[in-house]
């Protein structure tokens, strides 16, 4: 069975700063992987490179065997994909942003319907039916006709998750989904993500939520200075960290 995500030798630099120094990572179908690491370690950049919001300098990301950002030629060489192909590939990858990034000019339903109509070319009735289902799943049916700026951060992030879910992505990426929230709003978003994990979705999360990583994730990965320092099944990762760097990081985070 092909891996849901297969990242091979990923490099990325911003100017002279090398952010990712050769990342290799395989994520199985239905696996939940948490990426931990200090700020600036490259967690977000790694996620952004997976769906080409940042284009990697080197290396390839495969989603269910398909190289993202490339078009395989007949002689199995890779050609850089055009915008249409890239857009179609991105629609298979769900992405949840730290800052939610809901569109302010659309209501809650409008935000969820938009991609179904524009990208999946669904008719209005079908798109709205799916949107309402997803909004109900994240518990926001009563808010469906509100505009995002009237919602709390936690509610906005749940709408963003509903918007992503509606596209039925093969893989879900979460870029520090709770970092911009008030502490008392973190729980409601974590709850939604736990449900997704239990339903067997393939998820990669960059996060600082140690409890989520420990009890919900299958595997935890520690990234520092652009390389994977350590990875292990979640329990083992927290109970028996091997490297000194991870021990220090976990100690700092739990203080």
């Amino acid at each position: 069975m092909t891996a849901a995500v297969n990242i091979k030798n990923l490099h990325k630099s911003f100017g002279n700063l090398e952010v990712l120094k050769g990342i290799d990572l395989e994520v199985a179908q239905g696996e939940v992987v948490c990426i931990l690491g200090p700020s600036g370690s490259g967690k977000s950049t790694l996620l952004r490179c997976i769906n080409q919001l940042n284009s990697p300098a080197q290396g390839t990301v495969y989603i269910n065997g398909d190289p993202i950002g490339f078009e395989p030629l007949e002689n199995s060489d890779l050609k850089k994909a055009n915008q249409t192909i890239l857009a179609r590939q991105r629609s298979r990858i769900g992405y949840v942003f730290q800052q939610f990034n809901l569109w302010p000019h659309r209501t809650v339903v409008g935000n969820v319907v938009e991609a179904l109509r524009i990208v999946k070319k669904m008719n209005k009735a079908n798109a709205e039916k799916i949107a309402i289902e997803r909004i109900t799943e994240v518990g926001l049916l009563d808010w469906k006709d509100e505009y995002p700026d009237t919602l709390s951060g936690g509610q906005q992030q749940r709408v963003a998750i509903a918007r992503m879910l509606a596209m039925e992505p093969e893989v879900m990426l979460f870029d520090e989904p709770t970092s911009a929230l008030d502490p008392e709003r973190v729980g409601e978003v974590i709850e939604v993500m736990k449900e997704l994990a239990e339903k067997g979705h393939t998820m990669i999360l960059a996060t600082h939520e140690l409890n989520f990583a420990r009890y919900t994730a299958d595997r935890a990965i520690f990234i520092d200075e652009g390389v994977i320092v350590e990875q292990a099944p979640a329990q083992e990762f927290f109970n028996a960290p091997k490297s000194e760097r991870l021990r220090r990081f976990l100690k700092r985070m739990s203080m």
């Binding site: 915008q83 249409t84 857009a87 991105r90 569109w103 000019h105 938009e114 524009i118 990208v119 596209m167």
Partner: protein, 247 residues
């Protein structure tokens, strides 16, 4: 001897002013339309195309924002035919000159409006599988258009007043017609007062129209208030320090 206002002279010659109003409206509308096209073109090229293509446009914007409108109009009216050999009628060359002026301001309004759209909103669309054109149409334009309207209104109102400079070249618009009446009856104060009021009415009509457009394009109309009430809120808020009622 006491000064006596003779507004009857203005009323007796009002048909002359009416002709002028028509020409002023025609000049202004054509200028706004062509200026918008120029402004959009310049803004988009400056944002999307390579530096080499943007450079001449930067020079264009700076030149037309940085020199007096009167000189631009005179220069294009007299010099363009000499330099290029193109023979244009007066209306065309005046509209081109004014549209270039208006376009230089509008291009900056459009550029700021487009750049002001949150990058995160664009990335969210890209991540969901929108193509670049779809992102522009569905995310950038709706947000940018709404935010740019007050600034566009400013430029349009100046365009109406800019058209008064065409009187210098004998275009029979409102200012020119007013000056004809003045030359015949030596009553500048009365005539200019009435002419100014007419410009004010045209400018305010434009402002009202832009306000209505803003009202129509606002995505959040929470209170679902009718336009005249919204208008009252806006007018009142002009006298308050605390901004009210916006988004």
């Amino acid at each position: 001897m006491e000064f006596e206002f003779r507004f009857d002279i203005v009323w007796n010659n009002f048909p002359l002013l009416l002709e002028g109003i028509q020409t002023t409206i025609l000049l202004s509308l054509l200028t706004m339309a062509l200026g918008t096209v120029i402004g959009l073109f310049v803004a988009i090229v400056r944002l999307r195309a390579r530096k080499i293509f943007a450079l001449p446009l930067i020079i264009y914007v700076e030149v037309f924002r940085g020199t007096p409108g009167l000189i631009q109009i005179v220069w294009i009216y007299y010099c363009l035919p000499i330099v290029t050999g193109l023979q244009l009628d007066a209306l065309t060359s005046l509209v081109i000159a004014m549209a270039l002026n208006v376009g230089s301001y509008l291009s900056e309004v459009f550029r700021a409006g487009i750049q002001g759209v949150d990058k995160g909103h664009i990335e969210a669309a890209a991540a969901l599988g929108f193509k670049p054109g779809q992102i522009t149409r569905r995310v950038v334009v709706p947000q940018a258009a709404y935010r740019m309207i007050p600034a566009i209104g400013n430029v349009f109102v100046s365009a109406i007043k800019l058209s008064s400079l065409c009187s210098v070249l004998g275009m029979a618009e409102l200012m020119y017609q007013g000056q004809i009446i003045i030359a015949n009856f030596f009553r500048p104060i009365e005539v200019f007062t009435v002419v100014a009021v007419i410009y004010l009415i045209m400018a305010y009509t434009t402002s009202l129209f832009m306000m209505y457009l803003e009202y129509k394009l606002a995505w959040v109309n929470r209170e679902k208030v009718p336009f005249w009430q919204r208008f009252k809120q806006i007018s009142q808020s002009a006298f308050q320090i605390k901004p009210q009622g916006g988004l």
